[in-house]
């Protein structure tokens, strides 16, 4: 799935300890959350959106430690 703003692939960021997040344009947040919910990916979206220097708003999705991140990424990659 492509980031509608940057045109780059939406990619889950995995940090220290296996904690992960995904930054998504606000316009695509609902679609991504619906995709994850339909496939039972354990995650949740931040309550608020972020916009810096008047750039388009982005949302943050955090993943449970129990989430299958590879599966979640494959779901994103499966959508053009």
């Amino acid at each position: 799935m492509t980031d509608a703003t940057s045109q780059k692939p939406l990619t889950i960021y995995v940090g220290k300890g296996g904690y992960a997040h995904l930054i998504v344009p606000a316009t695509q947040l609902e679609q991504v959350m619906a995709l994850f919910a339909a496939n039972e990916v354990l995650c949740w979206a931040d309550e608020d959106l972020l916009s810096v220097d008047d750039r388009p708003e982005v949302g943050f999705i955090s993943f449970s430690r129990k989430a299958d991140l590879a599966f979640a990424q494959s779901l994103l990659d499966s959508i053009p």
Partner: protein, 230 residues
């Protein structure tokens, strides 16, 4: 009436503290999100500790951000919510019992405590505090049974009490068992248990928000009902 005023002040103070706690969580998380977004956008960030000479750049901060948010920020603020409720509940009981000490008529106190007391009020408070210490270590349901024996408030609901019991059980696991659920958690949480024995007990943000909302509601409901009866 002094008791009503004290109860109202207690509720207002606690709810204000809850709001501040949630604000701290929210705005601190936003700062971490700002860092994550800045690094993703290609900005260069570098912190240098002048004392230790250590350095932390944006990439390193991004790597630890989710870990810090989940493991420290969210869990610490959640624990604070539970502590605030406990303080409120037992402060309310203390106020109520100090104003209506009749139910403690059969309680016993060491004579040394009587000799130390400056006046009758201090003696009453010594008996009250002793009674509250005995209740504090019981189950959450027992807390409310005790309160209802003193004064029938008509709240909170059984569902709310069970939800609070699970919150407290989660807090205990975070504090005493490194966040790993055990049989004690399962026993205290009952049908509300959120994971199995041996599993990591997380505090996802929806649960964190629901816990804050429940705590705030229960404080308001209990205080208002007690004020009506005072």
């Amino acid at each position: 009436m002094p008791l009503q005023d004290d109860l109202r002040a207690l509720a207002n103070r606690t709810q204000a503290a809850l709001d501040q706690s949630h604000d701290y969580f929210t705005y601190t998380k936003r700062i971490w999100r700002l860092v994550e977004d800045d690094v993703r956008e290609g900005r260069t960030i570098l912190f240098r500790n002048r004392l230790t000479k250590s350095r932390m750049n944006g990439q390193a901060l991004r790597e630890i951000s989710d870990h810090y948010i989940a493991n420290y920020l969210t869990t610490a603020s959640f624990q604070h919510f539970v502590s605030l409720f406990e303080d409120f509940f037992f402060d309310l009981l203390r106020l109520w019992l100090a104003a209506h000490p009749g139910s403690l008529a059969r309680n016993q106190l060491e004579f040394s405590a009587v000799l130390k007391a400056a006046d009758k009020n201090e003696i009453v408070l010594a008996v009250v505090d002793k009674q509250l210490n005995e209740i504090k270590y019981k189950r959450v349901a027992d807390w409310f049974d005790y309160l209802n024996r003193l004064v029938k408030l008509g709240c909170p609901t059984t569902d709310e009490i069970e939800a609070l019991a699970e919150m407290k059980a989660s807090r205990d696991i975070l504090v005493h068992n490194r966040g790993i659920a055990n049989p004690t958690y399962l026993a205290k949480a009952g049908s509300r248990a959120r994971c199995q024995d041996g599993e990591l007990l997380e505090v996802p943000e929806p649960y964190h928000r629901q816990s804050w909302e429940l705590t705030r509601k229960m404080i308001g409901d209990i205080a208002e009902a007690a004020i009506q009866k005072a």
